[in-house]
């Protein structure tokens, strides 16, 4: 179901709305935020120079560093008194990035998430279990209010305590699961280990996954565990922009529709900063045009995607962003070759003899980069002989070499021995950095 009429506007009408909101936002940040004023002055661009959407390119980018440098509230356009909520990103190093919301921002956020939930099939009849960690992370509360707004019953179970999650699923008749793809897989594994058949014994029919990217093979794994009837869609967002609610997949599964009346997307060359032609792959840059407290201008997401303006069968006219092919931050450079962990995942999940979980360890010995990938043995029939297990290792190695152009050493480990994640998975360890 299409939640809002703004999702089906003719492009011309949408662009008029975007331009008016962009002009207003740029004028406001220039007036209220010294950091923006300095940047724009340095770039020699004034608010009144923004006369068309193409003029967006003249504005300087905003980076995560700008949020850190202005920690905690320096980029906000409103006095503290007008804020009603703050969240912070899960930064692993240094200070987190802090984001703030006015009352109207929370309404905007709720609206954006309701649209995405509806795209994934959510309705007022759903019982939604939110298995994202609550707290400073935007994921849980974003989906919480968005689903509540739709009229679903929201169960804020948070992440962890998987056995209890499953008990609630059985007892409440949960129909909709919100989790990171890795945690949804883990819950599915535990469900199966407990001898529960999700297709017969549970009512879950919708999975709204986010917080980290999901590759297509991972979606297939999800169906293997949860059943083919489950509609698994992924959605995209980041706390700096609003939280979840920036974009989401509709049931046609052909990319994530961006809420364009709130966010203007661009794709740039991450090295030169130059805006690329529609349809080209590059770094996603987003400008928030309806946020009050923290409207980031041309925020560099570091996520690699592509924009598709062709009409979608679902009836929405909003642009779709291709499912992420990685984050430029996650990119590993191994012996000079650029490697995205998602490329490795795509290869591994197509090998039926191993499980869905993996770990990548990169190290440097004698000035040479080495990559080791741990995978769990799933096919017990290979235990006949060392030759069969060796053959499996060689097969994985060869497929990786074809995709990456690199040799990795494959290490088979026992089933269920790799770490499982209740939030975002951390599957890469780069020992070269420590």
């Amino acid at each position: 179901m299409i939640w809002a009429k703004e999702e089906t506007l003719p492009r011309k009408e949408l662009e008029e709305i975007q331009l008016a909101r962009l002009k207003e936002t740029v004028t406001r940040v220039y007036e209220k935020v010294p950091a923006y004023r300095e940047k724009m002055d340095r770039a020699g661009v004034r608010s009144e120079d923004i006369r068309s959407l193409a003029d967006l390119q003249r504005l300087p980018f905003t980076n995560k560093k700008d949020l850190r440098d202005n920690y905690p509230f320096g980029l906000f356009t409103v006095p503290k008194k007008e804020l009603v909520r703050v969240h912070a990103s899960s930064g692993t190093t240094g200070k987190p990035t802090v984001v703030g919301y006015t009352r109207k921002d929370l309404q905007t956020w709720t609206e954006c998430v309701s649209r995405i939930a509806a795209m994934g099939g959510a309705t007022e009849d759903d019982v939604a279990q939110i298995c994202f960690g609550y707290g400073m992370f935007t994921g849980a509360l974003g989906l919480h209010y968005g689903l509540e707004n739709i009229g679903a019953i929201v169960c804020p179970t948070s992440s962890g305590n998987t056995q209890k999650q499953i008990m609630y699923m059985q007892d409440f008749g949960t129909t909709l699961l919100v989790a990171t793809p890795s945690y949804a897989l883990h819950i599915g594994e535990v469900v199966r280990q407990m001898g529960i058949d999700p297709e017969k014994d549970l009512k879950i029919k919708i999975g709204l996954v986010g917080g980290e990217g999901m590759t297509e093979p991972m979606r297939e794994e999800m169906h293997k565990l949860w059943g083919n009837d489950m509609k698994v869609t992924q959605n995209y967002g980041m706390s700096e922009l609003i939280g979840p609610g920036v974009s989401g997949e509709c049931l046609e599964l052909c990319g994530m529709h961006i809420n364009e009346d709130h966010f203007i997307p661009e794709i740039i060359d991450p090295d030169t900063g130059e805006v690329l032609e529609p349809g080209t792959k590059g770094e996603l840059v987003i400008t928030c045009i309806t946020k009050e407290a923290l409207p980031l201008i041309r925020y560099r997401t570091r996520d690699i995607s592509r924009l598709m303006y062709e009409p979608c069968k679902c009836g929405r006219t909003t642009v779709r962003m291709e499912n992420l092919s990685g984050r430029s931050d996650d990119m590993l450079i191994i012996r000079g070759v650029n490697v995205f962990p998602t490329q490795i995942e795509e290869v591994l999940l197509k090998v039926p003899e191993i499980g869905a979980h993996y770990e990548i360890i990169v190290d440097r010995k004698n000035h040479l980069d080495l990559m080791e990938i741990k995978v769990e043995l799933a096919d017990e029939s290979l235990l006949d002989s060392y030759a069969k297990l060796g053959e499996l290792e060689r097969k994985i190695k060869t497929s990786l070499r074809v995709v990456l152009g690199l040799d990795a050493s494959i290490k088979l480990v026992a089933p269920r021995s790799l770490q499982r994640f209740e939030g975002k998975a951390k599957r890469v360890t780069d020992l070269r950095k420590s």
Partner: protein, 141 residues
Amino acid sequence: MIKQLSVFVQNEIGSLAGVTSVLKDNNINLRAIASFDTPEFAILRIVVDQPEKAKSLLSEHGFAVKMSEAVAVELIDKPGALDGMLHVIADAGLGVNYIYSIVVREGKVPLMIINTEDLPKTAAVLREKGYTVAEQEDIKS
């Protein structure tokens, strides 16, 4: 023919003990065990008195386990006994993949457990030459 279990074990301290403690806790008697030094992981071969129960318990504890058949032949305690047995197998054109033994059998002779690519034929040629091939009942506690 008897049943053996092949268990995937990682090259880590305590990994074999992880298998044996599951067996001990469930009163399963281990009749034979074989494993070799390998750098990364090992396939542990075991013969137990209750193979089906052992397989399902080990799977529940997260081990990758395969149950398969193996030929178990009685070995008389005299010089050249194993040599004779191996020649029978070689003369039939069969290659031995691995071999290990059950020694403790409460007064009975030891058993050699043999894996080849053709187990029924291996058992048949040995029987033909007068060797006693054991069945699963013969190794119950």
